[in-house]
């Protein structure tokens, strides 16, 4: 007799429920339920053309820089306005600092906390996992909190405030980093690089970026104790022993938007990878579907420029189950995040891991998240050398009274898009698609599951009392439901409690 488990998720930065059907010890179906309505799009209608810059960063306390940048870029696109080169670099350095902090805190504070579950008590690496990952006081936890503390300082030096910075504006940034400011940023970044290389990698960034296959990764692990005892080395071993490489297969489709700071090698052009085939990124191929989302299907079309956000009242009979819409690219569900970024960039290591292991797993996603800082640090160092403190950081622009624009950003959790339409100097239409909306999407109009729903199907659960495997799969997408569930409340479903129903 199949049994349904409804699991309010904790440590996912917001409000999310996951419902799964278990037959025996295996998940046979899954639903990811965004439990709250966000409403920012509706709030913006009728407001001044630039109000998105103030309102949308409040969607999230973690990704506020990402939303601010996307909102500014949407206005720049609308105005067809060039952006100050210095300004572009400063924005992307701030965004990268936000990503560095998010990636490492997610892994060691949120994701790894599940690896100290009693379910793993008999595993040979359990005692060491507890020493490293124990909530609040594990070595990796404490080390990560202290090392990532310095990253917002970089944003504060460049932009004056974090979180909820307001220094990014259409045309560039309002701040003017001096040569001394830039030196200070370089110093902080060097300090972070030292910690990341010594503690997380056990080798240099350049060494880890040179690994281009699973065989080379295994050889790197065998090279010496420094690699095996580094946080990356231990997590890799622990993930394999605990079976994280065998759970969490999704659809095999990955999406990343363009991420261009420098017109150079450090840029990501964006793209869509499905079943190993890469296609260029075209934002017009994005659609939003609402058959199972609590919204009216109104609007002139499914594209975010046309899609409207009108909530429908909750009914038991209409099948709608989530406040997340179902975004699709070329009609397909797609996961987004550090792994998708790496695959779109055609980084050889993750591509080989996926090819050899039959698809992405919870472990592959987390390894990609643990390795992304290597590239980010190198990019930030390069961008800092490209800023000329003697040149302007802002280029004035004329804002048309009407028009439409799109701003796309690679936020910490993946592709973030803002679509805006202005009429008579007021916002007529606004749509935000956050990374988590892609990953935590409900089923679409063709009844195809969203990426996390799909990744949960087939997962085997060792203990019904502590189905920690489901947590691994869901958290490997680093959800941020504050973004994707369109309100914020301290009240809500009790977290950490299992409800087992018929």
């Amino acid at each position: 007799m199949p049994e349904t488990i409804l699991m309010p998720m904790n440590r996912v930065e917001g409000d999310l429920e996951v419902k799964v059907v278990l037959e025996g010890d295996t998940v046979t179906d899954a639903w990811v339920i965004g439990t709250m309505y966000r409403g920012v799009e509706t709030m913006l209608i009728g407001r001044g053309a630039l109000d998105g810059l103030v309102i949308t960063p409040r969607i999230c306390g973690i990704c506020s820089t990402s939303h601010l940048l996307a909102a500014a870029m949407a206005i720049e696109d609308l105005a067809s306005a060039p952006v100050s080169f210095n300004g572009r670099l400063v924005r992307h350095i701030a965004l990268a600092a936000e990503k560095l902090q998010s990636d490492l805190r997610h892994l060691f504070l949120m994701f790894a906390a599940d690896l100290v579950s009693p379910v793993y008590a008999a595993q040979p690496l359990f005692a060491e996992a507890v020493r490293r990952y124990r909530p609040f006081q594990g070595d990796a936890v404490v080390s990560t909190i202290l090392a990532t503390k310095m990253l917002p300082e970089i944003i504060a030096i460049l932009g004056g405030q974090w979180p909820h910075s307001s220094f990014i504006v259409p045309g560039g940034v309002t701040s003017h980093a001096s040569a001394a400011d830039l030196r200070q940023c370089r110093m902080l970044l060097a300090q972070f690089r030292r910690w990341y290389e010594q503690t997380v990698l056990g080798c240099t960034i350049e060494r880890i970026l040179a690994i281009d296959s699973r065989d080379q990764l295994d050889a790197w692990l065998e090279e010496g104790q420094a690699h095996q005892t580094s946080e990356f080395g231990f997590f890799l071993q622990c993930g394999r022993v605990f079976g994280l490489d065998r759970i969490g297969r999704a659809h095999g489709s990955y999406l990343a938007g363009p991420d261009c700071a420098d017109d150079g090698e450090s840029d990501l052009p964006g793209g869509f990878v499905r079943n190993g085939e890469a296609a260029p990124f075209v934002q017009q191929q994005i659609s939003e579907q609402v058959k199972y989302a609590r919204y009216h299907p109104g609007g002139a079309g499914d594209h975010p420029h046309d899609q409207e956000t009108h909530p429908v009242e909750q009914r038991e009979t209409d099948g709608k189950y989530s406040w997340c819409k179902a975004p699709r690219y070329l009609g397909h569900p797609a996961e987004t995040g550090p792994l998708a970024e790496a695959l779109v960039r055609q980084d050889p290591l993750p591509a080989d891991l996926i090819a050899r292991e039959g698809g992405a797993s919870a472990l592959t996603r987390e390894l990609a998240r643990l390795l992304r800082p290597a590239r980010l640090v190198a990019n930030m160092e390069h961008w800092l050398t490209r800023i000329d403190a003697g040149q302007p950081y802002y280029q004035p622009l004329d804002l048309p009274t009407s028009g439409s624009g799109v701003g796309l950003v690679q936020a910490p959790r993946g592709m973030l898009g803002h679509w805006v339409r202005i009429s008579d100097e007021h916002i007529e239409h606004y749509q935000v698609i956050t990374p988590t909306t892609w990953n935590a999407s409900p089923r679409d109009d063709a009844d195809i599951r969203g990426p996390i729903e799909q990744a949960l199907v087939g997962t085997r659960v060792r203990s019904r009392e502590d189905p920690v495997e489901l947590g691994h799969v869901v958290r490997s997408f680093d959800l941020c439901m504050v973004c994707s569930v369109h309100a914020f409340s301290r009240a809500g479903a009790p977290l950490g409690r299992w409800r087992v129903g018929p």
């Binding site: 440590r11 409040r58 805190r105 504070l109 906390a113 609040f136 202290l146 914020f488």
Partner: protein, 144 residues
């Protein structure tokens, strides 16, 4: 040249000014801005900061948090929670999302020296003008 006063205490007000139900900490911040603070007392706009408020706990002997609370009194009531009360709140790691409570639980392990005395001035519910004024009074008293 005037010497900068040593920071003795920080009052850290947290909340979200855009959400009426969660704005009361910020209202207290605005009230405190109209008051005269002792030279050694710094006022911090903590907003939605969680772990990133760690620097606020460094280099001072007392931190006074101001925030909305739930379940500690009647709506509009102002309460003071000290270290023991805060330790009991959110004792399970499952209740944390890397926010302020996570920081408070992790703080003893982060090597912060000296570890400041911490208390929270809480306002039950959305608050009102009287509660905001009272909370501001209590926050200043807690710095003494």
């Amino acid at each position: 040249m005037a010497r900068r006063a040593v920071i003795r205490a920080r009052i850290v007000c947290v909340g979200n000014s855009l959400i009426a139900g969660d704005a009361v900490g910020i209202h207290v911040l605005e009230e405190l801005r109209t008051r005269t603070l002792d030279a050694g007392v710094h006022l911090v706009e903590g907003r939605l900061g969680g772990l990133d408020l760690l620097p606020c706990f460094e280099g001072c002997s007392r931190v006074v948090l101001v925030d909305r609370v739930a379940g500690y009194g009647r709506p509009g009531e102002v309460v003071r929670l000290d270290a023991g009360d805060l330790g009991a709140a959110g004792a399970s790691p499952e209740l944390h999302s890397g926010g302020l409570l996570y920081l408070l639980k992790a703080l003893p392990f982060l090597g912060v020296t000296p570890l400041p005395d911490i208390c929270l001035i809480g306002i039950e519910g959305e608050g009102n003008e009287a509660a905001v004024r009272l909370a501001a009074d209590w926050a200043l008293e807690a710095c003494l």
